[in-house]
């Protein structure tokens, strides 16, 4: 650690350890025992930061499942890297926000997804679509602005929808998707189902009025068991280029849900197993009680905010490198090798497979036709009078 430079990582774990949160909310599983040890004499960078569970709790995931999770995360990574290439080549337009570094969060939480559940997120949404089973070809074609895209070339990167698979969309206005997500949850109970809504939001969204209004409604409706909404805060430390500390004096994001009567906890969002444990437990709780629950997953976007964001004046290379050492895929890879589940060769084979799969998606996207011109005018309205202008 360079003198005078206190890593974000250090600061982050300081606040997790010291937050009043751990003492004020009874019945919340403390992360302290599960998180990587971050004392000065035991930096994660020295031991790879992997899987030392001080509480000795059993890891509830089989080797096979871990391999599957590894493949899913590797696929997301490969997909996102292909997107970055496509963007640099000018084949992907608009805004592009990749999930690199955050893979364990959605991958872990969607392990708790059951058919009929709904997922809603903001614009960093490729991983969610891939994890819900949307065809990578169609997702890539959407980014390439092709008629074969997941939403027919009308939404692009920020607006992936696969309603049949439960993906109710990516949304482009920070915080704007939170109220509809809460509405989904109310509808699930109104329609007397046992489905839940997984509502993903970033740390930046938690400063918006929409978040606070929606959280208030969720807590309120939850009192009557009418809001089965699992809030998943993907705290990647920055809203674009502004760190959490620079946006709120109360940086314990999970604790903000206390204000609305919503139970909450934190999880190490880089540790896929920790995420899965929290996800499965909290999702079931939400499903059973009809009450909302919030999990703040601490993670880090090792890629830039947007593909066009090269300067990164707001963070140092050192900081990024520190986080890269805790890369969720790297951590899992290390563990799989250490536990003799996979060897280097097998890892390379998996990486080769996903790259091939993504190469196929890129080829599909490149070869697809642009949307037919008449598509300009469709889907404006539902029903008879679809379009009101002159064609």
């Amino acid at each position: 650690m360079k003198s005078g430079y206190r890593s974000v990582w250090e600061r982050l774990w300081d606040y997790i350890r010291n937050s009043r949160f751990w003492y004020s909310v009874p019945g919340i599983v403390s992360l302290r025992g599960k998180g990587p040890s971050m004392s000065a004499d035991n930096e994660h960078s020295e031991n790879g930061g992997v899987e030392t569970r001080e509480d000795g709790g059993a890891i509830a995931t089989s080797s096979e499942r871990l391999v599957d999770l590894y493949k899913e995360m590797a696929l997301i990574r490969a997909f996102e890297e292909a997107c970055q290439r496509g963007f640099r080549q000018g084949k992907i337009g608009g805004y592009l926000h990749v999930y690199i570094g955050q893979e364990a969060v959605a991958t872990g939480f969607l392990q708790a997804f059951k058919e009929g559940d709904k997922v809603i997120t903001a614009y960093r949404d490729h991983a969610h679509a891939l994890l819900l089973g949307s065809d990578p070809n169609e997702i890539m074609a959407e980014l390439y602005g092709k008629g074969t895209g997941l939403v027919k070339g009308k939404g692009g990167s920020m607006h992936l929808f696969d309603v049949d698979r439960g993906l109710m969309g990516g949304y482009g206005i920070v915080g704007g998707h939170i109220p509809p997500g809460v509405g989904f949850a109310y509808a699930m109970k109104y329609q007397e189902t046992d489905h839940i809504t997984q509502l993903y939001l970033g740390d930046g969204a938690m400063s918006t009025g929409a978040f606070h209004e929606a959280a208030n409604l969720a807590g309120l409706w939850g009192k009557d068991g009418l809001c089965p909404c699992l809030f998943i805060v993907e705290n990647n430390q920055y809203g674009m280029g502004t760190s959490v500390e620079r946006t709120t004096a109360m940086t314990d994001l999970a604790a903000k849900f206390d204000a609305y009567g919503i139970e909450n906890e934190k999880v190490d969002g880089m540790d896929i197993e920790a995420v899965i444990e929290v996800a499965e437990r909290t999702a079931e709780q939400v499903r059973e009680t009809g009450k909302p629950y919030a999990v703040e997953a601490l993670t880090y976007r090792t890629a830039s905010h947007g593909a066009a964001d090269f300067m990164e004046k707001y963070r140092t290379k050192e900081e990024v490198n520190e986080w890269r050492k805790r890369d969720p895929i790297g951590l899992l890879e290390h563990k799989l090798i250490e536990n003799d589940v996979l060897d280097e060769e097998k890892i390379e084979e998996i990486k080769g497979e996903v790259k091939e799969r993504i190469a196929e998606a890129v080829k599909f996207a490149e070869e697809s036709e642009e949307p037919p011109e008449e598509e300009l005018y469709t889907d404006v309205y539902s029903g008879a009078d679809e379009y009101m202008g002159e064609e």
């Binding site: 709904k118 809603i120 895209g149 997941l150 939403v151 027919k152 070339g153 009308k154 939404g155 607006h159 929808f161 696969d162 309603v163 109710m168 969309g169 949304y171 482009g172 206005i173 704007g176 998707h177 939170i178 109220p179 509809p180 997500g181 809460v182 509405g183 989904f184 949850a185 109310y186 509808a187 699930m188 109104y190 329609q191 009025g209 929409a210 606070h212 209004e213 929606a214 208030n216 409604l217 309120l220 009418l226 469709t378 889907d379 404006v380 309205y381 539902s382 029903g383 009078d385 009101m388 202008g389």
Partner: protein
């Protein structure tokens, strides 16, 4: 069968009709339940349908409108009350960014069968922050439907249509007319959107308005008739979709048109009316289309100033006289 009812009663009747007909219909808004609604539109419904369907919500327009959008995307049919449309700016992000567009940017995968309703316009000394006519604001956005019924019969019939519509409908009520009475057809009198109503037939000049200004135009038409001029009054009823044909046919007959709106002149509905007429009925025009609009000021409080800020019968009459090349009065 028709019965005389107030605008308020007709509106409530439509919502009750749909609450009875369709389980997916719920009402949501501030103080619409236990309190009975600030304007008593939903009075008594809470007792009848309970809190799950008649939802009182905290003062959080953005939050509850957004939640209603989510419910609609899930197949429910929420009817959201804006206590007044002035508060809808707080929900504008939800209405415009989500309700209006989500069908398009999802490639047609979802629909939003949502009604947002409430009193629109000023006129009762509520001053600047509570005096807006928001029709052109919302009608600007593709993906929304915008209607502004003025008669009790239309408010019922168009509410039935609004709730059944699979799209988000901005339902602008003539707040100042809640107590006015009119004949209302019994039962299911659904009035289609996109069809203007000829409120009065005439041959000399066409007065085009919607909402409360229709009544102003009717009074102006009576005054004009005293001097032997027969004004045709068109009640647009629906602004998106917009009934161009009725206007064009009327102007082809009268050759003169005045568009009247309570909202500010610039970028308003009346300008759109004028544009459509010059576009489609240019060769029938005998005079430029006149617009009568509100003064370009925030709504004032004092009664005399407020009256000056809104279109007056005299302004409408004189605009009509000008397009007929008659001396103003």
């Amino acid at each position: 069968m028709a019965e005389t009812k107030t605008y308020r009663e007709a509106l409530r009747e439509a919502m009750v009709h749909e609450l009875e007909r369709d389980e997916s219909v719920i009402l949501m808004g501030e103080d619409i339940g236990v309190y009975g609604g600030t304007h008593l539109i939903t009075d008594g419904l809470y007792d009848e349908y309970g809190p799950k369907r008649i939802m009182d919500v905290p003062i959080s327009e953005n939050g509850f409108t957004g939640a209603a959008i989510g419910m609609a995307m899930m197949g429910m049919r929420p009817v959201v009350e804006m206590m007044t449309w002035n508060f809808s700016f707080l929900a504008a992000d939800q209405i415009i960014q989500n309700a209006a567009k989500v069908r398009y940017f999802s490639g047609g995968q979802v629909e939003v069968p949502l009604v947002i309703r409430g009193p629109n316009g000023g006129g009762v000394q509520l001053s600047a922050q509570h005096t807006h006519s928001l029709e052109s604001f919302y009608a600007h956005f593709p993906g929304l439907k915008v209607v502004a019924p003025v008669t009790p019969n239309d408010v019922k019939g168009m509410m039935l249509t609004a709730i059944r519509d699979p799209n988000p409908v901005i339902f602008l009520e003539a707040g100042a007319l809640y107590g006015t009475k009119g004949e209302v057809e019994e039962g299911d009198n659904a009035v289609p959107f996109g069809k203007a109503r000829i409120a009065r037939e005439g041959s000399d000049v066409t007065l085009i308005a919607y909402g409360r200004q229709v009544n102003l135009c009717l009074r102006a038409a009576d005054t004009l008739a005293e001097d032997g001029f027969e004004a045709e009054v068109i009640d647009l009823r629906s602004l998106r979709p917009f009934d161009e044909d009725t206007i064009v046919e009327s102007v082809e007959k009268t050759h003169r048109a005045v568009a009247v709106q309570e909202q500010w002149r610039w970028f308003g509905v009346a300008s759109e009316v004028a544009a459509i007429i010059q576009d489609r009925a240019f060769d029938s025009l005998d005079a430029p289309v006149e617009r009568v609009s509100g003064a370009e000021v925030p709504g004032p409080y004092a009664r005399n100033l407020e009256l000056m800020a809104f279109p007056s019968e005299k302004q409408v009459v004189n605009a009509a006289r000008r397009v007929m090349y008659e001396e103003e009065k």
